[in-house]
C-alpha cells in the first residue's frame, strides 16, 4: 500500500486524503486516478455546452452535509457515514468528478430493502448543504432486493448566497433486483450560486420496474448524467423529467436508456423551460444492443421558451443495433400558444396568470407520473415562484 503524500497534491488545494481511509485500496486507487486527471473541458463532447471554469476550486473547503430522513418506519434505511464495501456501479475513471467521488465521498444514505420487503410509507430524504465556499463529494445508494418495493423522495437543498461559490459532486446509484419496484422522485433545488455535477446510474434487472422522476430547478450551472441499464427480460423504466432554467442558470441533462437485454421497455418524457437568459439543455440517447430484440423504447423532449434571451438545446439520439424493435423519439421547442393566451385574456385572466396556468399544465403532466400529489403541488408552487422572480 502506497503512502499518500498530501503535500504534492494540487487538484484542489483544500482537498486532502483522510487518514482513516489509508487502508482502503479502492479509495486510494481512485484518489490516484483523480490526481492523474484534469477537469473536463469544453472540447470533450459531454461538456461542450458548459463548464465550471469560473469556479475558484482552491478557495473551497470540504463540507459534510446535513441529512434528514422522514419515514415513519425507518425500515431498511441507514444513513451511513462509514465506508461501503459495495462495488460501485459508476466507475471512478469516467472523469475527475467520478474519481473524486469514489475516493472521498461519504454515503449520504443507503436505502436497502431486503427480499420481498415492502416499504409502504414514502421514504423522504432531505439533504441540506451548507454551500458557503464549500465542496461536497457525496453519494446516495438505493438497493432493492428481489421483489422488494419502495417509494423514495430525495431532495437536495441549499440556501442561495449570491457572492459565494460552492461545488456539489453527487452520485446516485440504484440497483433493482428481479421483480423489484421503485418509485423515485429526485428534486434538485440548490441555491443559484451552486455548481452541481451528478452522475446517476440505475441497474434494472429482470421484471423490475423503475419509475424515476427527476426535477431540476436550482443551481447556477448543473450537469447531470442520468443512465438506466435494462439488464433482464421484462425490465421497465419510466423516466420523467422536469427542468426550468431562469436568469443566470444553465441546466444541462444527459439521459441514457441502455437496452442490454431482450424484451425490456423504457419510456422517457422530459419537459424543459427557459426564462430570462436561462439555458436549458437536454441530450438523450436510446442505445439498443444487438441482443436486445423486441425492445420497446421511447424518448420525448418538449420545451417551452419563455424569453427572447433564453436558450434551449435538445439533442435526442438513437443507436439501434437490433432490428426487431420499436423505437422512436420526438423533440419540440415552442413558445406559449398565442391562441390560448388570447382566449384566457378574453375570459378576464391576465397574461401573466394565463402563462402560469399554461406552464402548470405543461409540467403537471410529467410530475403526475410520480404519483405523489403533495410533491406535485409543492413543486408547481416553486415553479410559479421562479416564474414570478424571472418575469420582470
Amino acid at each position: 500500500m502506497k503512502n499518500i503524500d498530501n503535500t504534492k497534491r494540487t487538484i484542489m488545494k483544500n482537498l486532502h486524503w483522510p487518514e482513516h481511509w489509508q487502508a482502503d485500496v479502492q479509495r486510494a486507487s481512485a484518489w490516484e486516478t483523480a490526481q492523474s486527471m484534469t477537469f473536463p473541458e469544453r472540447k470533450n463532447e459531454d461538456w461542450k455546452w458548459i463548464n465550471f471554469e469560473y469556479l475558484d476550486l482552491d478557495t473551497l473547503n470540504v463540507e459534510k452535509p446535513l441529512i434528514t430522513v422522514l419515514s415513519r418506519t425507518n425500515h431498511g434505511i441507514s444513513v451511513l457515514r462509514a465506508d461501503s464495501k459495495e462495488n460501485l456501479l459508476i466507475k471512478p475513471d469516467v472523469d475527475t468528478y467520478s474519481a473524486l467521488n469514489a475516493a472521498l465521498s461519504e454515503e449520504l444514505c443507503t436505502i436497502h430493502i431486503p427480499k420481498n420487503g415492502q416499504e409502504l410509507d414514502t421514504i423522504h430524504v432531505t439533504v441540506k448543504f451548507n454551500a458557503r465556499n464549500t465542496v461536497a463529494n457525496t453519494r446516495a445508494i438505493i438497493q432493492l432486493e428481489k421483489h422488494a418495493q419502495a417509494k423514495v423522495i430525495l431532495e437536495l437543498q441549499t440556501d442561495t448566497y449570491k457572492d459565494l461559490q460552492a461545488l456539489l459532486n453527487f452520485q446516485l446509484e440504484i440497483r433493482l433486483d428481479e421483480g423489484a419496484r421503485l418509485e423515485l422522485m429526485e428534486v434538485q433545488n440548490l441555491g443559484e450560486h451552486v455548481s452541481y455535477i451528478s452522475r446517476e446510474y440505475a441497474h434494472v434487472h429482470r421484471d423490475a420496474h423503475l419509475n424515476w422522476t427527476y426535477v431540476g430547478l436550482g443551481s447556477r450551472v448543473a450537469k447531470s448524467f442520468i443512465t438506466v441499464d435494462l439488464l433482464g427480460k421484462g425490465a421497465e423504466t419510466l423516466m420523467n423529467g422536469v427542468y426550468f432554467s431562469g436568469s443566470g442558470q444553465v441546466i444541462d441533462l444527459d439521459t441514457q436508456q441502455n437496452h442490454l437485454a431482450a424484451q425490456a421497455h423504457s419510456d422517457l418524457l422530459y419537459k424543459g423551460a427557459a426564462i430570462g437568459n436561462g439555458k436549458a439543455i437536454w441530450e438523450g440517447m436510446i442505445y439498443v444492443d444487438h441482443i436486445a430484440q423486441q425492445t420497446d423504447s421511447y424518448q420525448s423532449n418538449r420545451n417551452l421558451i419563455l424569453d427572447q434571451r433564453a436558450e434551449i438545446k435538445t439533442i435526442p439520439g438513437l443507436e439501434i443495433n437490433a432490428n426487431d424493435v420499436s423505437c422512436s423519439h420526438g423533440a419540440t421547442v415552442g413558445r406559449l400558444n398565442d391562441d390560448e393566451l388570447f382566449y384566457s385574456q378574453s375570459r378576464g385572466i391576465p397574461v401573466r396568470e394565463a402563462e402560469k396556468l399554461i406552464l402548470e399544465g405543461f409540467f403537471e403532466d410529467v410530475l403526475k407520473k410520480s404519483g405523489d400529489e403533495e410533491m406535485t403541488n409543492r413543486l408547481i408552487e416553486q415553479i410559479f415562484e421562479k416564474y414570478d422572480r424571472n418575469h420582470q
Binding site: 472540447k43 463532447e45 444487438h290 430484440q293 420545451n303 421558451i305 419563455l306 424569453d307 427572447q308 434571451r309 433564453a310 436558450e311 434551449i312 438545446k313 435538445t314 439533442i315 435526442p316 439520439g317 438513437l318 443507436e319 439501434i320 443495433n321 437490433a322 432490428n323 426487431d324 424493435v325 420499436s326 423505437c327 422512436s328 423519439h329 420526438g330 423533440a331 419540440t332 421547442v333 415552442g334 413558445r335
Partner: protein, 471 residues
C-alpha cells in the same frame, strides 16, 4: 481491397455489377502521392491560375495541415491521406464535341448512358472524368438566356470577377479540415450562373466518376442563382471497382439570391472502398428556396450534411434524403438548417435503410440565432433495419436562441412488418421480391422528386443492393 472484400463487394451488387469496370489508366499527368505546398503550386500552375487563387490554395493548405481530424462521427482512421494522388489530369481537356472524346472515355460513358444525355430533353452536360471536365455541352437556348454552365476551371478563366466574388464565401477555408483540403487541391466540378429572372426548365447534369486507383477526387462546384431565377442541378455518380482505398472530398457552394429557387440532386454510388467526405452548403437570401435531394447508396464511409444558411427573411430550406447502408458500409448523412433571419422555415426528411452489418446514421442540426421571429422547422427521420446485423443511429441537435419558434423533430426505427411480408407472399411474391417492393415504397417520396432517367437508375440500384438480402 483484399480478395475477400472484393468478393463481398461483388456479391453485394450481384457478381455481374454492371458498373464494375475499370478502364486502362490513360491519365497523362499525376502529381506525387501525398500533399505538399509544392504540389499545390503545381496544380495551380498547370491550371494557369491567377495569383489570388494560388494564394488562397496555399492558405487553405496551411489550415488543412493545422486542423485535426474530426473528433466525432464514424471511424475514418484507415484513411491514409499520405497515400493519395492529389491531382491527375487526363490527356485531352474540355472537348466541345462528342466526336472528339477519346474512345476509352466514350466507352465508359456509354455504359453510364451519357449519349442519352445528349438528347433534347437534357439541358446540358458537363461530364467529369478523373479530375477535369472532358466533355461539355450546353443547349443553345440556354446560352442565349445567358446561363453559364462551364467547368469550374473555365469559370475562373472566363468570368474571373464573378468567380472571385463568390468562390469560398459560402464554405470558407476554416469551415472544416476537408473543405480546407478541397480548397487547396480542387480540380474539376461545375460553374453555374443563372441570370436574373431566368428559369432553366430542364435539369443541368454533370456525371462524373473516378478512374484511377488511389485517386482523390476533389471536385468543386459553384452555383449562383441570381434574383428570381430557377435551376435544378443533378449530380450522379457511379464508380468502378478498385484495388485500394479511394477518397472523394468535394465542396459544393450554392448562392440562392432573392426570390430564386435552386434544387440540387445527388445520387451517390461510389464503390464500397471510397471514403466520401463532402461539404455541401447553400446561402439562401430573401424569399429564396433551396432544396437538396440526396441519395447515398455507395461508398465505404460517407460523411455528408448538406446545409442551408437562411440569411434572408422568408427563405426556405429543404432536405430530402435516402441512405442505403449495405454490408461494410457506413452512411453518416444528415443536414443542417441554420436560421439567421425571421420568417424562415426549414424541413428535413431523412430515410435510411440498413442491411447486413451496414450502419446508417442521421446526424443533423437545426439552429435558430437569437432575436428572430416566426421560425418554423420540422425534421422527420425514418429508419428501416432489414436484418439483425444492421444498425441505425439518429443524432439530431436542436439549438434554439429565439422564443418565437415552432420546432419539431421525430424519428422512428422499425423493421419490415411480418404482416406486410405475409400479405405480399400470399399474392405470390417471394420474400426477396416483397422486401424489394417494400423498400422501393419506403424511398418513393425521394425517387419521385428525381428526373425520370435518374428515378429509373435509382430503382435499379436499389434492386441491385437488395440482391441476396433475404435468406
Amino acid at each position: 481491397m483484399s480478395d475477400q472484400n472484393k468478393q463481398s463487394f461483388l456479391n453485394q451488387f450481384g457478381a455481374d455489377y454492371q458498373y464494375g469496370f475499370s478502364d486502362p489508366d490513360i491519365a497523362s499527368f499525376r502529381a506525387e502521392k501525398g500533399l505538399t505546398r509544392d504540389i499545390v503550386r503545381q496544380i495551380s500552375a498547370f491550371k494557369e491560375e491567377p495569383e489570388w487563387m494560388l494564394n488562397l490554395r496555399l492558405k487553405a493548405y496551411d489550415h488543412y495541415i493545422k486542423r485535426p481530424m474530426p473528433g466525432w462521427g464514424p471511424d475514418i482512421s484507415d484513411l491514409d491521406l499520405d497515400n493519395i494522388y492529389y491531382y491527375v489530369r487526363p490527356p485531352e481537356i474540355n472537348q466541345r464535341s462528342w466526336d472528339d472524346v477519346p474512345d476509352t472515355i466514350k466507352n465508359t460513358f456509354d455504359k453510364l448512358g451519357i449519349p442519352e444525355a445528349e438528347q433534347k430533353f437534357l439541358a446540358g452536360v458537363g461530364a467529369q472524368y478523373d479530375s477535369e471536365m472532358v466533355y461539355h455541352s450546353i443547349q443553345e437556348n440556354l446560352e442565349k438566356q445567358g446561363v453559364i454552365f462551364l467547368s469550374i476551371e473555365n469559370g475562373l478563366k472566363e468570368y474571373p470577377d464573378l468567380f472571385r466574388e463568390h468562390f469560398g464565401k459560402v464554405v470558407p477555408i476554416q469551415d472544416n479540415k476537408f473543405s480546407a483540403l478541397n480548397t487547396a487541391v480542387w480540380s474539376g466540378g461545375s460553374f453555374v450562373y443563372v441570370p436574373k429572372g431566368v428559369k432553366v426548365d430542364l435539369p443541368l447534369q454533370a456525371y462524373f466518376r473516378l478512374n484511377n486507383p488511389n485517386l482523390g477526387q476533389f471536385e468543386r462546384t459553384l452555383i449562383i442563382a441570381d434574383e428570381g431565377s430557377q435551376v435544378h442541378y443533378v449530380e450522379g455518380c457511379t464508380a468502378p471497382t478498385y484495388t485500394e482505398d479511394s477518397f472523394h472530398s468535394g465542396v459544393i457552394e450554392i448562392i440562392v439570391k432573392k426570390n430564386a429557387r435552386v434544387r440540387y440532386s445527388t445520387i451517390q454510388n461510389w464503390s464500397t472502398n471510397v471514403y466520401n467526405l463532402v461539404t455541401q452548403r447553400a446561402a439562401v437570401y430573401e424569399n429564396g428556396t433551396m432544396e437538396w435531394v440526396d441519395a447515398n447508396l455507395g461508398s465505404k464511409v460517407t460523411m455528408k450534411y448538406p446545409s442551408c444558411y437562411l440569411y434572408g427573411e422568408g427563405a426556405h430550406g429543404e432536405m430530402l434524403s435516402v441512405a442505403f447502408a449495405g454490408p461494410e458500409q457506413i452512411q453518416d448523412a444528415g443536414s443542417k438548417m441554420i436560421h439567421f433571419a425571421s420568417n424562415t422555415s426549414s424541413k428535413i426528411t431523412s430515410k435510411s435503410i440498413s442491411r447486413g452489418n451496414g450502419r446508417s446514421s442521421y446526424r443533423g442540426l437545426v439552429r435558430v440565432a437569437n432575436g428572430l421571429e416566426k421560425i418554423n422547422s420540422n425534421v422527420v427521420c425514418d429508419a428501416l433495419l432489414l436484418d439483425p446485423e444492421s444498425a441505425s443511429d439518429t443524432y439530431p441537435t436542436i439549438d434554439i436562441r429565439s422564443d418565437d419558434v415552432n420546432i419539431g423533430h421525430e424519428a422512428s426505427v422499425s423493421r419490415i412488418g411480418e404482416e406486410q411480408l405475409f400479405y405480399l407472399n400470399s399474392r405470390g411474391l417471394t420474400d426477396e421480391e416483397a422486401t424489394t417492393m417494400i423498400v422501393s415504397g419506403f424511398i418513393e417520396p425521394l425517387v419521385k422528386e428525381l428526373p425520370m432517367e435518374y428515378a429509373i437508375e435509382m430503382n435499379r440500384l436499389i434492386q441491385l443492393q437488395m440482391i441476396g438480402s433475404v435468406g
